[in-house]
């Protein structure tokens, strides 16, 4: 019997605490993270089934989202990749009737565990959406600081200034907006707005960044800027990105997971996950080959 996640494993707000030891700065000699990097957390999904009411959307997904790597989720529309992504920070359950089965852990901790606060999960596992969605009534500064206000309680103006600047620099936006921080976020170009949303997501120092088609509304130059940024962010965060752009998955990710739908009405399944280079040169499954080659039949 499937249950709605929000009820089956009802998280009692405020009771549970996901541990977040804060950034662990790597030594300058760290060969993987380089200077300024930190060890991020691993997401493990085991036997995950996702539902919208009676509709079985995603079936039996077991996979690892590796730390300090970019994992791309690819597959045709309706294959469940976005639904799966949204289950990784408990956003799936915000849909009425949504259900989750199986286990999803963040460095071993069950994010659906009893007493775990979903708001706390979403702080640790941030999300960047398809269309840039800065808060329309807020200034650039307030957009970035908005998560801080929710999460960090009281904070001095100078502390907040520091975090806003660090986040905007981290999102490669500081130089473009530093003289107009009080202007509305919606006055920025599409690519700038998306980088603003990334700045907002990293301001609260998450462990994982989930990105759902982050470049689909952007022009090619803005897209490449975001891809460069993703490449840098992985030194600090674990990143999972849903994309329909095959070349983007090939360019920007270290690992690629292919989801497929055998036929309409059936649940989506994970067909294959592996190093991106292998998926795009020598995939193990014919369905993967047909999809990445743009060939069906």
């Amino acid at each position: 019997m499937l249950g709605a996640a929000g009820t089956k494993r009802n998280a009692e707000k405020g009771q549970g605490q996901m541990s977040n030891a804060g950034p662990v700065t790597a030594t300058s000699t760290d060969p993987v993270l380089g200077s300024g990097g930190r060890a991020a957390k691993t997401i493990e999904a085991r036997g995950v089934n996702l539902y919208y009411g009676d509709f079985h959307a995603v079936e039996d997904v077991t996979m690892t989202i590796a730390p300090n790597k970019v994992t791309a989720l690819i597959g045709s529309s309706g294959c469940g990749k976005t639904t799966f992504l949204r289950s990784l920070n408990r956003m799936h359950e915000l849909t009425v009737g949504a259900g989750v089965e199986g286990e999803i852990t963040l460095d071993g901790e069950d994010i659906y565990g009893a007493g775990i606060d979903p708001v706390q999960v979403r702080r640790l596992v941030g999300m960047v959406f398809q269309s840039p969605n800065p808060f329309p009534t807020m200034s650039i500064y307030d957009n970035v600081a908005s998560g801080l206000n929710l999460n960090a309680g009281r904070m001095s103006k100078s502390q907040k200034d520091g975090i806003v600047e660090r986040s905007l620099r981290g999102a490669h936006l500081w130089d473009e907006v530093k003289d107009r921080l009080d202007k509305p976020g919606t006055g920025l170009s599409g690519g700038q707005q998306q980088r603003l949303c990334i700045a907002r997501a990293i301001a609260v120092e998450p462990e994982v960044l989930l990105m759902d088609e982050p470049c689909s509304a952007l022009d090619p130059v803005a897209t490449l800027a975001i891809e460069d940024l993703i490449g840098e962010l992985k030194s600090k965060y674990t990143i999972a990105i849903v994309t329909h752009n095959m070349q983007q998955a090939a360019r920007a990710s270290d690992l690629t997971a292919f989801f497929n739908l055998e036929e309409t009405g059936r649940p989506g399944r994970l067909v294959e996950i592996g190093p991106t280079e292998k998926i795009f040169t020598q995939p193990g499954e014919k369905a993967t080959e047909d999809y990445v080659s743009g060939r069906f039949g």
Partner: protein
């Protein structure tokens, strides 16, 4: 969703493969003429082979350019990408095979109008040529059928050409003290060497067949590590 998409791209890739492998037919024709020119010391036919090599070079340039365009415009991946990579290699092999025919034909005028031909040496070169033509045909078929076993068998077939080539050295040493005969034999050794290289290129094409099918590139035989 339609059963098949990107059909034009697939057709184009299929046509380019056929066109590239068709280059092996051009090489076969060049080799037939080259052998005839050696057999009859036919300088005019040799000149035709040299001039006609432009057709093989032209095929190389045309298919190469089209493959680069496909890479740039269609972003091929997986098997398609391996196929295009292999075809770029194979085109180079074909172009080199044509050049080796030219190399043979260019030495024929050096042997003079009535050379002191040794029948055994001429027969040996013709035998090498016949075996090499079989290799070319087998390489083409192995590629078209993606037949790795057939491709691997090219090594065994090429050993026959190599053995004949070594036999040529023995014949040249036995040819005697006559200066003209020795000079002719030296020239024929250059021709035999060029034909032997055509066989090597056919084996290289076989290695590309294995790459397309398995995704792994390994030399069937490594001349620098023959025991490896």
């Amino acid at each position: 969703m339609p059963d098949k998409i990107r059909t034009e791209y697939q057709e184009e890739l299929d046509n380019l493969e056929a066109s590239a492998l068709g280059g092996l037919d051009l090489v076969n024709t060049a080799l037939v003429r080259t052998l005839e020119a050696v057999e009859h010391q036919d300088i005019e036919l040799a000149q035709i082979v040299v001039a006609d090599d432009d057709r093989i070079d032209g095929r190389y340039l045309e298919v190469h350019q089209s493959l680069i365009t496909l890479l740039a415009t269609q972003s091929p991946v997986a098997t398609d990408l391996r196929l295009i990579s292999a075809l770029l290699h194979v085109l180079k092999n074909i172009e080199r095979m044509g050049d080796q025919c030219v190399n043979v034909c260019k030495v024929i005028p050096l042997t003079g109008n009535e050379p002191p031909a040794d029948a055994r040496m001429v027969e040996l070169i013709l035998a090498m040529g016949k075996q090499t033509r079989a290799l070319i045909a087998q390489a083409k078929r192995a590629f078209a059928e993606r037949n790795v076993e057939m491709a691997r068998d090219l090594v065994r077939q090429d050993d026959i050409v190599d053995d004949l080539n070594r036999e040529g050295f023995r014949l040249a040493l036995e040819i005697g003290d006559d200066v003209d005969k020795r000079e002719w034999a030296m020239t024929m050794l250059l021709a035999a060497r060029a034909i032997e290289r055509i066989g090597d290129n056919a084996v290289d094409i076989g290695e590309q067949v294995a790459f397309v099918v398995t995704g792994l590139f390994r030399e069937f035989e490594d001349a620098s590590h023959p025991e490896g």
